[in-house]
Symmetry: C2
Subunit: 301 residues, 2 copies
């Protein structure tokens, strides 16, 4: 049963309702054009593998569109290597091209090595810039580079409703509420090197995706990342789940609530146009892009 709507559905109807919701999210946000080349970011986890399955189904209705998957190998031994197998196996089953890229190839460092440098520097002092903060920045860059190289028109991400709302609260609690302007269904930038990002799962609860994956017998990696932050995001996740349980619909209400103020916040951000990083040439808001800045600060580059 869906607590927020009170609907009771059988397995088949549930799966259809999920797919319809994704179609509706795509349509109302104009996420795709009929002839788009879509790159799906597939980590091998539940959300991204399910996104690949659903987009493969949706894409069949648009003969001029095409789809491929990319997996970023961050270099996390005993974790990502496993996940890549799940990603590859799902692509094989669906007959979808699977591209691999890696931190090693792009930044000449694996995440395992970067974490060693980080821990040496911080000696457990700070949990503000966890490995996740670095990994996130580098992964977003890796995905943009992969999408551009493959001449993809869109980069599809499996961020779900839980992710989006956590990010909103995390931004507010980190003291940077203006960043909530960027938690959007479609993130486009006026720069030819930036590939637009779309989030077809943005209005799906994490548990809806999990239940759908179970019903559809989708195979995915379920082990959490060994570096997964136990810090603020995790506390926010627990708190939001508690609130959702007591007040069904809270997560969706927060998303819609923030959507209402985003236009006002965006007007302020619009002034900052993207330029090319003086070190690597990638699109960025500052003189030196965040990945280059992070790697320089760590003395890696």
């Amino acid at each position: 049963m869906r607590a927020y709507s009170g609907e009771k559905l059988c397995g088949k109807c549930f799966t259809e309702s999920i797919e319809d919701k994704v179609r509706a999210t795509i349509a109302k946000n104009n996420m795709f054009k009929p002839d788009d080349k879509i790159m799906v970011a597939v980590s091998g986890g539940k959300d991204s593998v399910t996104l690949l399955h659903i987009l493969a189904k949706v894409e069949r209705e648009f003969p001029k569109a095409s789809l491929f998957a990319v997996t970023v190998d961050e270099g996390i031994r005993g974790y990502r290597d496993e996940a890549i197998k799940f990603a590859a196996e799902n692509c094989r089953k669906l007959g979808i091209e699977h591209v691999l890229t890696s931190f090693k190839e792009l930044f000449d460092i694996q995440l395992d090595e970067l974490v060693k440098v980080l821990r040496e520097r911080d000696k457990g002092e700070s949990d503000v810039l966890s490995p996740c903060a670095y990994c996130g920045v580098l992964r977003r860059r890796a995905l943009n580079v992969a999408a551009r190289r493959a001449k993809a028109d869109k980069l599809a991400l499996a961020h779900n409703l839980d992710d989006e709302v956590q990010t909103i609260l995390l931004n507010i609690m980190h003291g940077d509420a203006s960043r909530i302007a960027r938690v959007k269904p479609v993130l486009a930038e006026k720069h030819p090197m930036f590939v637009s990002r779309v989030k077809p799962f943005r209005e799906l609860l994490e548990k809806e995706i999990a239940f759908n994956a179970y019903l559809e017998k989708i195979e995915f990696q379920s082990v959490p990342c060994p570096y997964a932050s136990t810090a603020l995001r995790s506390d926010i996740r627990i708190m939001l789940n508690r609130m959702e349980e007591k007040h069904a619909g809270t997560k969706f209400t927060i998303l819609k609530s923030i959507e209402k103020i985003q236009p006002a916040l965006e007007m302020r951000l619009k002034e900052t146009l993207l330029q090319e990083c003086k070190v690597c040439g990638e699109p960025t808001v500052k003189e030196i892009c965040k990945p280059c800045q992070m790697l320089q600060e760590l003395g890696v580059h």
Copy 2:
């Protein structure tokens, strides 16, 4: 010890640090002019009684300024009548004039009666518009009327950091994020009938005020209101206290984070100017003001 700053202070220094913080909040937000007539809203509870004590001290430094207290009697038997005694007793000790106003006098209905009407209508169905929602709207109106009648220049409220941050998250979780534009240290409106509201305690934690009241042996009513909502605000309060305990400084960071986006949000609100309510003549953004609308909907007026 203050967890967020790591300071360890003796009782005397703690009290002085609290008073200095209030002075700093007043100064940086230009809350008062040297010759202001200030009305303090005193419910009789810990926060408002402490505010009266501290403002009485601060005011002594400004011989041209004057101070008086007002208590709104909402008509909650066995609760407010007790609180009024604490408010009156503290005013007497401090030699401050104490004015009483009431829902009965202004709206011809006591809160106890209004709750009966509400419960009869809703039959426990909805917890969205709790008694608190009605009481809050009517109390704000009552305070504005009292301040205007007494020709006060400013209305000082004892909202603390916890209150402000709870309200911010409550607005977001209620689907009305644009209302966070109004959670400000000084709320002024361009209308001669609206008395500006200031919040000198806005950067003080609830527990700092409680500890200060204990040190200063301030007497106040500590019984909670019998209608106090057990709904969303209470859950948010618990959640924020948990977050603050694990990540000291969270509440302050949220406040500062939201302050950064408020200018962008305010620009949108500025378009709506206050007009006079067609029923009661009080300043409002709509044709009929919220208090009149609420009372009409309940069939009370």
